[in-house]
C-alpha cells in the first residue's frame, strides 16, 4: 500500500515535469509552428512599419528581436497552462503528489526552452532583414538570449498559472506580465544591441548583470510563491 517506494527528489521531479512538457510540445508541433510564425510575422511587421532605411532598422534590431520574443511568450505561456487545465491535469500532478516547487521549475524551464527555440529561429531572420552582424560574436548573443528567455519564463510561468483559471486570461496575462518584464526587456534589448553593434564602452557586463539579478529574483519568487498559487 502506498507510499511503499522511494519517490524521486526535487530535481528529478522537476526534470520529469520538464520532460513531460517537452514531450507534449513535440507531440503537438503545430502549436510550436504557430508560435514561430507569429514571432516571425511580428519581426517582419516592425521592419515594414519602419520602412527600408537599413540604418534605422539595424540600430533597433536588438529591441525588435526582444519585442517579438516577448509577444510570442504570452502565447507560449498561456498554452502551457491550457494543457494543464484541460482535463484537470495540474490537479492530477498536485494530488500524485508532486512538489509544487518542482512543478514550477519544470514548467518554467520548459517555457524557457520553447522561447529559446523561437529565438534561435528569429536570430538569422533578424540578421538578414535588419542587415546586422553580431560584432561581439554569436556565443555572446546566445548567452543574452538564454538569460532573457529564462528571465521571461520565470515570472511568465507564475502569472500564467495565476491567470489560467480566469475567463479573461488572454487579456490578463499580458496586462500583468508586461509591466513586470520592463527591466528585463530593457536589459535584453541593450545587451543584444551591444552584441550586434560592438561593446566599445564595456557596458555588456552591467546589462547581463541586471539580467542575472532579474533571473535570480524571479526564479526565487516563483519557487517561493508557486505552491500558494496552485493550491486553492
Amino acid at each position: 500500500m502506498s507510499p511503499s517506494h522511494a519517490r524521486p527528489g526535487f530535481w528529478l521531479s522537476a526534470l520529469l515535469v520538464l520532460q513531460k512538457d517537452l514531450l507534449i510540445e513535440w507531440r503537438s508541433r503545430a502549436r510550436l509552428n504557430a508560435l514561430v510564425f507569429f514571432a516571425l510575422s511580428t519581426l517582419l511587421l516592425f521592419s515594414f512599419a519602419l520602412g527600408a532605411d537599413t540604418r534605422i532598422l539595424g540600430r533597433s534590431a536588438g529591441g525588435y528581436l526582444w519585442l517579438a520574443i516577448m509577444f510570442a511568450s504570452v502565447l507560449a505561456l498561456g498554452e502551457s497552462f491550457r494543457v494543464e487545465n484541460e482535463n484537470g491535469a495540474l490537479d492530477g500532478l498536485r494530488l500524485l503528489p508532486v512538489d509544487p516547487r518542482a512543478i514550477f521549475v519544470g514548467k518554467a524551464t520548459g517555457n524557457a526552452a520553447l522561447l529559446m527555440v523561437v529565438a534561435v529561429v528569429l536570430v538569422p531572420v533578424t540578421l538578414a532583414v535588419y542587415d546586422v552582424r553580431p560584432l561581439e560574436g554569436l556565443p555572446r548573443l546566445g548567452g543574452v538570449l538564454a538569460l532573457g528567455c529564462l528571465g521571461i519564463s520565470a515570472p511568465g510561468t507564475m502569472y500564467a498559472a495565476i491567470t489560467s483559471r480566469s475567463r479573461a486570461k488572454d487579456v490578463l496575462l499580458p496586462l500583468l506580465l508586461f509591466p513586470i518584464l520592463i527591466p528585463a526587456l530593457i536589459a535584453c534589448s541593450k545587451a543584444a544591441t551591444l552584441v550586434l553593434h560592438g561593446d566599445a564602452m564595456q557596458e555588456l557586463r552591467s546589462w547581463t548583470g541586471l539580467l542575472l539579478g532579474f533571473n535570480a529574483a524571479y526564479w526565487s519568487l516563483g519557487i517561493l510563491l508557486f505552491p500558494s498559487i496552485i493550491e486553492d
Binding site: 500500500m1 502506498s2 507510499p3 511503499s4 517506494h5 522511494a6 519517490r7 524521486p8 521531479s13 520529469l16 515535469v17 513531460k20 514531450l23 507534449i24 507531440r27 503537438s28 494543457v83 484541460e86 482535463n87 484537470g88 491535469a89 490537479d91 492530477g92 500532478l93 498536485r94 494530488l95 500524485l96 503528489p97 508532486v98 512538489d99 493550491e231 486553492d232
Partner: protein, 216 residues
Amino acid sequence: MSTAPAIDAVDLSRRYGMRWALARISLRLDQGQSLLLTGHNGSGKTTLLRVLAGAVPASTGRASIFGLDLAKQRFEVRQRVGLLTHANALYEDLSAQENLLVPARLLGVPQPSARAAALLAKVGLEGRAKDSVRQFSAGMRKRLSIARLLLKNPALALFDEPFGELDPGGIEQMESVIRELQQAGTTVVLATHLIEQGQSLCSRRLHLSGGRAAQA
C-alpha cells in the same frame, strides 16, 4: 500503517463564494471499510471527495486521514489517497502509455513501463497503448483514468461517479477493480447515482442533500 481510522472528519464544511457546498459533515470510516455517497446533483458529493483527497481545503471543521491532519499534512495525505473524478487528469496529446508513464516516474514506481503495460491490459486498453488520448471515447478515458489511479496503489480510494460513461462491460470491469481494491484492504468511498451497484459494493451509506448529511 497505524490503526487510526481511514477518515475521521468533524464538522467539515466548504464554501465557494457565498454558497456552502458542504455543511458540517462528520464522518468516521475505519480502514478497509467502504462507504457509498449518494445525493442529487449539487448535493456536495464531489466537494466532499475533493476535500478528503486534499484537493481543496475545508473552510471550517477538521479531518484526519489515517491519523494525518488534512490541513497540516496535506502532502502526506495525498500520498495515500487516490481520487477518480470527471476531470480525468489526462494529457490529450500524449498516448495512453505515456499518460501512465508520466505519473509512474513521478511516483517512483519500479519498472514503470512494465507496470504501465500491465495496467493497460487490466483495463482492456493494451491494443490502444500508443494511441493519443485525443482519439479516445469518454469510456476509454475513464478506463485509462482507473489505470492511473491503480498506479498509485492508494490506501484510500475515492471514486466520483465511477460507472458514468462506461458500457456494461466497463461497468463490470470497474466493479471488479473496486472489489480487488477492497480485498487488498483499501478503504473505498464511492459517490454514484447507481445506488444498486453502489450498495452491492459498500457496507455503509451517507446521503447528502444541500451539502448536509440527510436521510435517504
